[in-house]
């Protein structure tokens, strides 16, 4: 091997758009998002599936994009943090995170919000304990999670 790998055309359904890209087959979805599509809202915190910063939604379910091969998710509906704002309208979770002070450095925020969205879609009226459990795979070192949990619960009480 001389530093180059096989490439292939991938068709990805991303945030409502179809993308056709030529890329290496061994690339993870995280790499394709960040490097090929310029969707840098999805963060790389560990590249080992341990921090949750790279969480995206695939068919509405949260996945760690650093552990997901891009070739495997062709034809599936993928949503990243950039796709959560629709027609200029932020998702209620985004608004809640901003207003409740649930964001400090913001590095975990995209993954945290997407995890919360997938969770609330399944369980719109969770208890505090259920919220904590749902986001327990998303690490945050700044906030101590308190305001994140508050923000998520504030969305549930409005619906």
């Amino acid at each position: 091997m001389k530093g180059f790998f096989m490439k292939r055309i991938l068709r990805l359904h991303m945030n409502g758009d179809e993308h056709e890209i030529l890329t290496e087959t061994h690339k993870t979805l995280l790499e394709v998002l960040r490097e090929d599509l310029g969707l840098t809202g999805t963060k790389r915190g560990c590249d080992l599936g341990t921090c949750g910063a790279c969480t995206v939604l695939i068919e509405g379910k949260p996945y760690l994009s650093c552990l997901t091969l891009a070739v495997d998710v062709q034809g599936k509906k993928i949503v990243t943090i950039e796709g959560l704002t629709q027609d200029g309208e932020p998702h209620p979770l985004q608004k809640a995170f901003v207003e409740k002070g649930a964001i400090q450095c913001g590095f975990c925020t995209p993954g945290m919000i997407l995890t919360a969205k997938a969770f609330l879609d399944e369980n719109p009226h969770p208890s505090e304990g259920e919220v904590k459990k749902a986001i327990s795979g998303n690490l945050c070192r700044c906030t101590g999670y308190v305001k994140i949990v508050e923000a998520i619960l504030s969305v549930t009480s409005k619906t």
Binding site: G3, V98, Q104, G137, L139, R141
Partner: protein, 776 residues
């Protein structure tokens, strides 16, 4: 004080929307056409001579555009503390820990760079290594840096008062030893750097840094080029907690290769590299002897502290100095004898971390105070209240404490946790504890210490603010903007801020020592006042009154107390402009802590910081006696931050600190074996997740410090000093075991419970392994 309109408000961070929508750009989110990707080869050996580095096979890998080792770079040492420089960007001649940087490559893809790294051949001659600081201090131990033959690279020996005499006069003496562990900061964003070079040879570096101006200086030094040829820009930074204070190989290598290849170059660390090769909290061995009077007065303390520094200095002299001086707050202590050592070992490098040298000794002091209180039959809360330092008292090290809400924080934290009802009264397995602390609001013993700001009033009445302050996620830009908005009488949305770009923004030391709000906030306030004054001159002329009669409120300039008599800011600007005054309207401000110059505590006493914060944290825990697991149920954090410019952000600092402190009390430790980190991943290391988070109550105590902008003091670092000892003291209340080494893992708890069970027929006091109380 006048009613405040912006300061004191729970404003969301200015960049929160960017971050919530994925538009915020961190260093690794930036890419440039033609960019090269870099990788660093690290030492697999803890201590070895580098005999030869063969880069030839690496250079043959397709896509590789450059490969270097230590012999290719300027032989210039760097370090965050000028007197303690001991590091090269890449190791020259020898490696000193597993993870030390040996060589670097850049290539057109990361895959190619990784392949090339694997093809570098290094011949080492392995040297005897030393992993224990006490062993490292012994004669005949391996020498890690030739110029430091005993491996003690920084030390402090200070006496305040007369400790020997005070011990003689003490009614009781208590003596015990404590131990703390290595802790990684774990910012979610790994360290990254991106560099370009323009045709004039000037390097621009985007970096995940807390200290753009120090980084510029260290880069210029290591690249051996003038400072004017280096521009450092800080994009969004994904947390730092002290770990992003130092220059790293990634910064140097990105800039060096950019200069060499004339192409953009990016280096990003893997999580494993963050664990192994950045910085960590210094593990400490602490021996502590305390002399008490019968009435509960702390008469004297004597410390011997050995800090395991790992392979390099980083902030060594400052760290060990802080550990010493902040024993003398928040309690009155007139007699202190402190002997502290920073010792090299062949292990990962210690550096500044939230609290910087103080949390370790604070753990020892607070844990011992509880044990003293029990033995003397005094309530631990009363013992602390009795010895609580008060504002305006003379301080043995000449710290000038103008405001001090410590006693209030003690009372409020105790009240919040239900101290009177719960302490000693909860069923076995449940308990409450508390601990106090104090921290400086910025430090005045280093260069680059003054902070500057520029405030421009634009033609449309909006405000442009330039500050060097480095927001790393704590919300510095928001807080400083709130200060400027308040001063100019405009809403927060009128402020546009540009920060932390060494070419555009005024000098600022950066984010460390918890000094940003006070230092950069004051500079920005002064700049806003200067700009306002210019506008007032014009308005006063137009209104034919004296400047002193004017105030700025609600986007208007009017006579004090009479909003009707005045004009909008825009009208004032128009008049200013038409009366041919110099445009643009610029106010300049700079602030330097008012200290005797130079107040290097390293050499002499003096007022180290413009203001000091005070805090008490109280914990309620539940210990599962079957599994040994400790669950923190509730924390009450009471903090005297002077004045909360933004209470929501202050709460955020407290909550994050409590959870981080809980991690350090119960879960976290960087475990090494023969210098090899055994748990360099989030999974194996285990910072707290949302599942472990207790209920947290923040109780702010405001003391309105005369030196702080609108009375503000720090709330960032100090908040992490007291959680761990509060939790440890609560564990004692729960199960009657005093833990003296961190973290308190389930294994330690179970072992202690078993030992207690074996000794259950003995009276409780004798269960305590403390040395005896000596009647004086």
């Amino acid at each position: 004080m006048n009613k405040l309109n912006v300061v004191g408000k729970r404003e969301p961070m200015l960049d929160a929307w960017e971050k919530a929508t994925g538009r915020a750009r961190f260093t690794d989110d930036l890419s440039l056409p033609g960019m090269l990707y870099g990788k660093i080869l690290r030492s697999p050996l803890a201590h070895a001579k580098i005999l030869h580095v063969d880069l030839s096979e690496a250079e043959k890998v397709a896509g590789v555009k450059g490969a270097i080792s230590g012999k290719d770079i300027p032989k210039k040492k760097y370090g965050i503390v000028p007197m303690a420089k001991d590091e090269y960007a890449l190791a020259i001649d020898k490696v000193r820990y597993i993870g030390d940087e040996v060589a670097a490559v850049v290539a057109t893809s990361l895959d190619a760079a990784e392949e090339a790294i694997s093809k570098i051949r290094v011949d080492y001659k392995e040297l005897p290594a030393v992993f224990d600081p006490i062993e490292a201090m012994k004669p005949g131990a391996p020498i890690i840096h030739d110029e430091v033959p005993n491996n003690v690279s920084a030390s402090i020996h200070k006496e305040f008062g007369n400790v020997e005499k005070a011990f003689r006069e003490s009614d009781f003496l208590f003596e015990e030893s404590f131990e703390t562990q290595a802790v990684n900061h774990c910012p979610l964003e790994p360290q990254a750097a991106l560099a370009i070079v323009d045709p004039s040879g000037k390097v621009t570096l985007w970096a995940s840094t807390q200290i753009p101006f120090f980084l510029r200086r260290n880069l210029a030094t290591t690249l051996d080029i003038p400072e004017s040829k280096v521009r450092v820009i800080k994009p969004k930074v994904g947390g730092g907690f002290g770990q992003k204070i130092d220059l790293y190989a990634k910064d140097f290598c990105a800039a060096f290769f950019a200069m060499k290849t004339k192409r953009p170059v990016k280096f990003v660390y893997e999580r494993e590299e963050v664990f192994i090769s950045t910085r960590q909290r210094h593990p400490m061995r602490i021996h502590l002897k305390t002399g008490m009077k019968k009435d509960g007065t702390i008469l004297a303390q004597q410390f011997k502290v050995i800090a395991d520094g790992g392979a390099y200095n980083s902030t060594a002299p400052l760290m060990i100095t802080l550990a010493c001086y902040f024993i003398m707050l928040p309690y009155r202590l007139e007699n202190l004898l402190f002997e502290g050592y920073h010792v090299y070992t062949n292990k990962p490098v210690g550096g500044a971390m939230r609290g910087h040298g103080i949390p370790q000794v604070r753990f020892a002091v607070e844990a011992q105070l509880d044990s003293i209180a029990e033995k003397m039959g005094i309530d631990p809360l009363d013992l602390r209240l009795k010895n609580a330092f008060q504002a305006g008292e003379p301080h043995p090290a000449k710290l000038l404490v103008q405001t001090c809400g410590f006693s209030d924080t003690l009372k409020k934290a105790a009240e919040g946790i239900g101290w009177k009802e719960k302490r000693g009264k909860l069923p076995f397995g449940r308990g409450v504890g508390l601990a106090g602390a104090s921290f400086p609001s910025g430090v005045s013993n280093m260069s680059h210490i003054s902070s500057g700001a520029i405030v421009k009033i634009e033609r449309d009445g909006s405000i442009t603010l330039l500050t060097g302050a480095a927001d790393i996620g704590q919300g510095a830009e928001t807080v400083i903007s709130q200060i400027v908005a308040e001063e100019l009488g405009v809403p927060l949305e009128d402020i546009r801020i540009t920060a932390a770009d060494t070419e555009i923004t005024p000098l600022d030391p950066g984010t460390f020592g918890s000094g940003v709000t006070l230092r950069a906030g004051n500079a920005a306030k002064i700049a806003a006042q200067a700009a306002k004054e210019k506008l007032f001159e014009a308005a006063a002329e137009k209104m034919e009154i004296r400047i002193e009669e004017l105030e700025a409120k609600n986007r208007r300039i009017h006579v004090k107390g009479n909003p009707e008599r005045g004009m909008s800011i825009q009208e004032a600007i128009k008049f200013y402009q038409y009366s041919d005054r110099p445009m643009p309207i610029i106010g300049r401000g700079s602030y330097q802590p008012p200290a005797k110059e130079p107040t290097t505590l390293l050499k002499e006493d003096g007022n180290f910081s413009p203001a000091y914060s005070f805090m008490t944290q109280a914990a309620e825990v539940e210990v599962d006696t079957k599994t040994g697991k400790v669950k923190v149920l509730r924390m009450v954090a009471s903090h005297d931050c002077g004045k909360a410019i933004n209470p929501m952000l202050v709460e955020g600092q407290l909550e994050g600190s409590v959870v981080g402190g809980m991690g350090q009390a119960l879960y976290e430790e960087v475990i090494t074996e023969k210098g090899q980190v055994l748990n360099p991943s989030f999974l194996d290391y285990g910072i707290p997740t949302a599942m472990e988070v207790p209920s947290i109550t923040s109780v702010e105590v405001e003391t309105n410090d005369p030196e702080g902008p609108f009375g503000a003091k720090e709330s960032g670092e100090g908040t992490q000093l007291a959680p761990a000892p509060a939790i440890i003291n609560a564990i004692y209340d729960a199960i009657g075991v005093r833990f003296k080494s961190l973290p308190v893992t389930p294994e330690k708890v179970l072992k202690a419970l078993q030992e207690n069970a074996q000794n259950q027929n003995r009276d409780p006091e004798s269960l305590d392994p403390d040395p005896e109380i000596n009647s004086g």
